[in-house]
């Protein structure tokens, strides 16, 4: 069926590539999905290497490229890289904070064929938003950027990561998206990986707040049908079944880090012992098909009970490996977000407990920090 499979029918073709072009970012959001140890500019891949990676991705069957970071417009060659996507027929999605150099590059990005912009908003109230993002005067820049996106006729998605510091603003995010002329709004409850894991106690909302936010979204969807599409990502810790992480390990998505490491998901580096291959040493196809990190948890052979005999095993693929490691101490365990996990009740209780405490201060994302996850063994200990 495709270039990959003559001898490997078990390896599906990838559909999406998350290109983390750089870890540099003017914002310092405490829930950033980047790893705690951020790549420095000096180690970033050069333009030609990214162009080769995109060409190989297109050949493998990738359709969507998410140009992300960090702040992708912090790279001087963002326009060239976007043009390469367009030339290859790849759908380009710019995932941006809208601050820094983003606005000045927007027209050029439009001209070379950028398909879509996803703009992050940290809060509705400017003061709250800027406290969360850790950058003064970010909010007006974001608004100006959004207005320009819409004026150019580019589709705009607003992305709001929801946590206890802004969960009271869900209604406001919806109004803001409508006012800005966005076509989509993502109301994404924080996923507790990366920096969000470190800041979990500062971010975890309580169940009543979560439920209220879901109710608000449901009502708005009905009211705004045909005007605004609202995607809702519900929080894992309060869920019944886990999410299929990245659509299943090594099934749909891959993530290339600023230095060219290829990961099955953006948090995969937290799993010790996984061997990641580099785009500078292997072709993307080899990495997707054969690299130890991708083969480790692809399919169902690696599963333990209760996943192994579960009839949902090919729906959620056991959930998130990184979360299984973080909460169960074993990356091959059932994701404790799943109600069938023996640890589910503990995880739920943990969330309830943290949400009931006074939130600690944020540990802001920063390059070169010595932050270590404080939660390593909090469930199993």
């Amino acid at each position: 069926m495709n270039a990959l499979t003559p001898n490997r029918p078990d390896v599906p073709a990838p559909v999406g590539l998350l290109a983390e072009l750089t870890h540099r970012c003017p914002l310092r959001c405490p829930y950033c999905s980047n790893p705690l140890e951020l790549d420095r500019r000096s180690g970033e891949l050069d333009t030609a290497t990214w162009q080769r990676v995109l060409t190989e991705a297109s050949g493998l069957g990738v359709l969507h490229v998410h140009l992300s970071g960090g702040e992708p417009t912090a790279r001087n060659d963002i326009v060239e890289i976007t043009k390469t996507c367009a030339d290859l027929g790849l759908y380009s999605n710019l995932i941006t904070s809208g601050v820094g150099g983003a606005l000045s590059k927007l027209q050029a990005l439009y001209d070379v064929g950028l398909d879509h912009v996803q703009l992050s908003v940290q809060g509705v109230d400017a003061q709250n938003a800027e406290r969360i993002g850790g950058l003064k005067n970010a909010q007006p820049q974001k608004f100006e950027f959004a207005a320009k996106v819409v004026e150019l006729g580019l589709p705009l998605t607003l992305n709001s990561v929801i946590h206890r510091g802004n969960i009271h603003e869900v209604e406001g995010f919806i109004d803001l998206a409508v006012k800005m002329g966005a076509k989509r709004l993502e109301v994404a409850h924080t996923q507790y990986y990366g920096w969000a894991y470190v800041n979990r106690a500062a971010l975890m909302p309580d169940k009543t707040q979560v439920d209220a936010s879901i109710r608000i979204v449901e009502a708005a969807r009905e009211r705004l049908k045909g005007q605004l599409v609202i995607d809702l990502v519900v929080p894992d810790y309060y869920a019944k079944y886990p999410k299929a992480c990245a659509g299943g390990w090594g099934r749909k998505l891959m993530n290339v880090t600023p230095q060219g490491k290829v990961l099955p998901c953006h948090a995969a580096e937290t799993i010790p012992g996984l061997e990641f291959w580099h785009v500078t040493e292997h072709s993307l196809g080899e990495i997707w098909r054969d690299s130890p990190a991708f083969t480790a948890y692809r399919g169902t052979d690696w599963m333990q009970e209760p996943c192994r005999s579960c009839d949902r095993r090919e729906k959620d693929w056991g959930g998130c490996r990184c979360q299984a490691l973080a909460l169960a101490g074993d990356a091959a365990a059932t994701d404790p977000a799943c109600s069938l996990s023996p640890l589910h009740a503990k995880v739920r209780a943990l969330a309830v407990e943290e949400a009931a405490e006074t939130p600690p201060d944020y540990i802001y994302r920063t390059i070169g920090s010595n932050v270590r996850s404080p939660f390593k063994e909090d469930v199993n200990s």
């Binding site: 398909d115 879509h116 580019l154 309580d206």
Partner: protein
């Protein structure tokens, strides 16, 4: 509220109470333990529950309603006096009705349907919390195994129900736009039935609890019944409010509902596509052939639409210039089919895409 009916203290428990004292003691149990005081009911009546939480309540409470005639049949089976049975059997008639489509259980089903459930799903009792079933079944066993006096006394929560019903009806109508007067028809009848039933049962208990021990049994029976009701709300709160721990087989939001409850009607402000409209794919939405998988896909913000052959044929003609009618004419010629039938089909498809904001006109 507590002050009105001081609880009988332990030293008193051996003394024979006058009928009025007994009634006061029974009422006091309700004042302290009736489920109107439960946090879940506060949330329900104050409009603080989500639609799904109201659904969970309606679904679970169905099990209680459905088992009430079973419980009353067990009570009836223990009555040797025909005059008693004639009175008690009215409860079964009230709940089961005289014919299909009638009675309290049916009205509760209407309520469950009113909040979006499929009737068959409710009838199956599949998604009902085990804790609900355990509580309700404990009630049935209780009346079958204990004395007739205790069985009758356990029904006395009906003394307290008119208050809860009026609060509930007023609160729910005021606070939930998905609740209508029709949906709550169950409670209209209960407002008159419950006091009638309670008057009889209270008289019976006051007349037949003639020793301190029998009076104690009657009070314990009513306490037990309050706990049957309270426990059901504990289980609902635990599963659907906080910590929100839904047991593996219990109902989860989004299941067991009729299609309309899942897919609400289109917003009033957005009009449907018509034959004269000229649809187009906006910037950021592209029809592309996917060589790897050998098919066409529609690429859109953060998603990919898989297309069947018909959709591909339509979208190839969507250019912002051709009207829907013109597209239908062209497809009619190509496939030798009635263009107006095609038009009706593709309007539905194009509306679907417009609703997802990947098609404009």
């Amino acid at each position: 509220m507590n002050a009105v009916f001081p609880p009988p203290d332990a030293a008193d428990s051996q003394r024979l109470l006058s009928p009025d004292e007994l009634e006061a003691a029974l009422r006091d149990i309700g004042a302290r333990r009736y489920h109107i005081l439960h946090p879940f009911h506060r949330l329900l009546h104050d409009g603080k529950l989500s639609k799904d939480q109201v659904r969970a309540w309606a679904l679970n409470r169905y099990y209680y309603q459905a088992m009430i005639p079973v419980k009353d049949s067990a009570v009836l089976a223990r009555m040797t006096d025909a005059s008693l049975r004639r009175i008690w059997r009215q409860r079964i008639v009230d709940h089961d009705g005289d014919h299909p489509g009638d009675g309290g259980i049916e009205r509760w089903l209407k309520l469950a349907e009113g909040v979006g459930f499929e009737r068959d799903y409710v009838l199956s009792t599949r998604g009902i919390l085990s804790a609900t079933k355990f509580s309700v079944e404990a009630y049935v066993h209780f009346v079958a195994e204990k004395s007739l006096l205790e069985a009758i006394a356990s029904s006395l929560t009906e003394m307290f129900s008119p208050t809860i019903i009026s609060e509930r009806v007023a609160g729910m109508l005021k606070n939930y736009d998905f609740i209508t007067k029709d949906t709550l028809a169950y409670f209209d009848k209960r407002l008159t039935q419950a006091p009638r039933d309670a008057d009889f049962a209270l008289d019976y208990v006051k007349t037949h609890a003639t020793t301190p021990e029998l009076q104690r049994q009657a009070m314990d029976a009513l306490t037990f019944k309050c706990n049957v009701l309270w426990t059901q709300l504990d289980a609902l709160y635990f599963a659907y409010v906080a910590p929100g721990m839904i047991p593996p087989d219990a109902w989860t939001p989004g299941t067991g509902l009729v299609a309309e409850a899942l897919a609400p009607q289109a917003g009033a402000g957005v009009r449907k596509m018509v034959a004269d409209d000229r649809p187009r794919l906006p910037r950021g939405v592209r029809l592309r052939h996917d060589e790897t998988r050998g098919k066409y896909v529609l690429l859109a913000p953060e998603r990919t639409f898989d297309l069947d052959d018909n959709a591909v044929a339509v979208l190839k003609l969507v250019d912002g210039d051709r009207s829907v009618a013109a597209i239908a004419d062209e497809l009619g010629r190509t496939y030798a089919a009635d263009p107006r039938a095609i038009e009706a089909d593709i309007l539905v498809m194009l509306d679907g895409l417009a609703e997802k904001r990947v098609l404009e006109r």
